[in-house]
Amino acid sequence: MTDLLHIDDLEVAFQERGMLTNRPVRGITLSVAPGEVVGIVGETGCGKSLTALAVLGLLPKGAVPSGRILLDGVVQPLDGSGSARGDVISIVFQNPGTAFNPVFTLGRQMRDVVARHRRMGRAAATAHILHYFEQVGLPEPERIFRSYPHELSGGMLQRAMIAMALLCEPRLLILDEPTTALDVTIAKQILELILSLRDRFGFGVLLITHNLGVVREVCDRIAVLYAGRVVETGPADAVLKAPAHPYTRGLLGALPARHVPGQPLDAIRGAVPGNLLGLTGCSFRERCPLAIDRCGEIDPGLAPVAPLHEAACIRAGAR
């Protein structure tokens, strides 16, 4: 089976007046199969949002991407000139409160999306939109259709956002921190909704988050990103139960749920390096409790640690 989405050695560099200023994404390879939920996990600045933007073709000004992005085996242009965005690929953003235009009704905003990607009459488009409002479990679809964003709660808006993302029956849904701005109970409902919709429509999901609890709940596979690289990837269960990379272990150890009262929090020391130009050796070694001299010489690639489970660390598995 060919992958739905295949990201092959993606790099994103930033240029200013012809000078390279930073390279926050340094060769990411990743794939999503139809119906699969893949989580991208990492701290702020690890390159996870840029990866999503590259898939959408929405990189900011000055960004220079390289590598390949394939959708259903077809190479996508990296400059955003493709029309897959909003159609074959959809996205749901972190903050539903600001993601909708405040001066138009939800119905109008959705009609713009339908009009852009589908040939459909006004009445048909309205019926289409109301249908998806029902699919995402919004009560009184007609009222929602006529509502302005400020008249609805955050949870309802996020459901409406998901409805908007589904309007053109996408093959791939990107979720960018979809529950971070929501209450815990609402967040749980939204995650369950996404899983049930995935079962119904069969789209693949790329879930971007820094919340390992969310990953545990919904992901089939995860990729842990650090400093613009995948440092560990594999089935979600395997990675979460037996993390091989010290960074992943640090992330899991830093989870308050695992924290034993009275013990100091096992947080990771230091911070992500700000600029990744001219980095040699392992990018994590400055913060790594297991670092040895050789870590400064070798920049390790992904290597199998178990079936389907890979990590980029020469000390993988070491205690």
Partner: protein, 338 residues
């Protein structure tokens, strides 16, 4: 909605009341004898005394003020000292011409100001942005009376394309006079299908309207640019592009509707500048409106006329701001009028 209007009108009435007081006191306390203005500098003392009595200048100030206020409500705003006719009549016959000029100028200013602002915001810091910025600042730096004269030299004197002054050519009155429908001459000529008068009136309107529009156009263009730039950085604009919507639709409809409310605030202010702008533009183009009458009244120290113009100007400003608030409420569903 009604409550908003009522409270706004209440404030307006209060402000106007204070204005009457201020202007009245200013006009009576400061030296200068209105009777002399009325009768002429060579009038004998008995004549002046008679006029003082007739116009009530011999009574105590407070009585004069109460009489004046009472007159305001009953439609007696006093007689112009210069023309000896009721001030209200003088203003009423001139108001339509001024309003047509104001409307044309504001229409030009809003349409072109908004378009230039959106275009400038498309490429901030680039050449086109710099050119538009220079034009906008040039517009607000331009003395209207001078711009009017320059346009006359070019389009009337050199090119001969447009008429220099007035609202209609004199011949129109004989060939194809404008019938009275609404009282607005250009509108009436259009409504009655009087094409001779309409095209003539339109040709006369172009130069004064453009002259009057320069200042508000510059203000509106700058404000639209600034608020567009702010809106374009918002999440929902990014959402729109993430859903593949076209750049033109995003800028000219989705973002612009968000950028317009702050722009409308400046439109109210621009309209106020335009109100005073008519004074100068009407003088330059001999436009038969209130502005020209006002300048004459001020030079002649025609108290009743000056006071009426002041009140009318302030009322016009208040109305302009009220209209702006109503438009803002229509544009932005989050604004509640209360």
């Amino acid at each position: 909605m009604l409550r908003f209007l009522a409270s706004r009108l209440g404030t307006a009435v209060l402000v106007l009341f204070v204005l009457t007081l201020v202007v009245f006191v200013m006009s009576r306390v400061i030296p200068g004898d209105p009777a002399v203005v009325y009768a002429g500098p060579k009038a004998p003392p008995e004549e002046l005394a008679r006029i003082r009595e007739k116009l009530g200048f011999d009574q105590p100030l407070i009585v004069q003020y109460v009489n004046y206020l009472g007159g305001l409500f009953t439609g007696d705003w006093g007689n112009s000292l210069a023309t000896k006719r009721p001030v209200l009549d003088e203003l009423a016959i001139r108001l339509p011409a001024t309003l047509e000029l104001l409307f044309a100028a504001m229409l030009l200013a809003v349409v072109f100001g908004v378009v230039l602002g959106v275009v400038a915001a498309k490429r901030p810091g680039r050449a086109i942005d710099g050119v538009i910025r220079f034009l906008a600042i040039g517009g607000v730096s331009m003395p209207a009376f001078w711009l009017g004269l320059l346009l006359q030299v070019l389009f009337v004197g050199r090119l001969g394309w447009l008429p220099a002054t007035g609202q209609f050519s004199t011949e129109v009155e004989y060939v194809s006079p404008v019938a009275h429908v609404t009282g607005f001459p250009l509108l009436d000529s259009l409504l009655t299908g009087n094409w001779i008068a309409y095209s003539d009136g339109l040709a006369h309107l172009v130069l004064p309207a453009v002259t009057l529009a320069a200042y508000p156009l510059g203000l509106i263009a700058r404000m639209t640019r600034a608020s567009m730039l702010e809106v374009l950085g918002q999440d929902y604009v990014f959402t729109a592009s993430a859903f593949g919507l076209r750049d033109g639709l995003i800028r000219w409809k989705l973002a612009l509707k968000n950028a317009l409310p702050p722009t409308m605030t400046i439109v109210g202010l621009a309209a106020a500048y335009t109100l005073t702008g008519t004074f100068f533009v009407e003088v330059v183009f001999n436009w038969p409106g209130i502005g020209q009458f006002a300048v004459g009244a001020m030079l002649a120290v025609d108290y009743p006329a000056i006071m009426a113009i002041t009140l009318l100007g302030a009322a016009g400003y208040l109305i302009a701001n009220l209209v702006v608030d109503l438009i803002q409420a229509r544009l932005d569903p989050r604004v509640r009028l209360s």
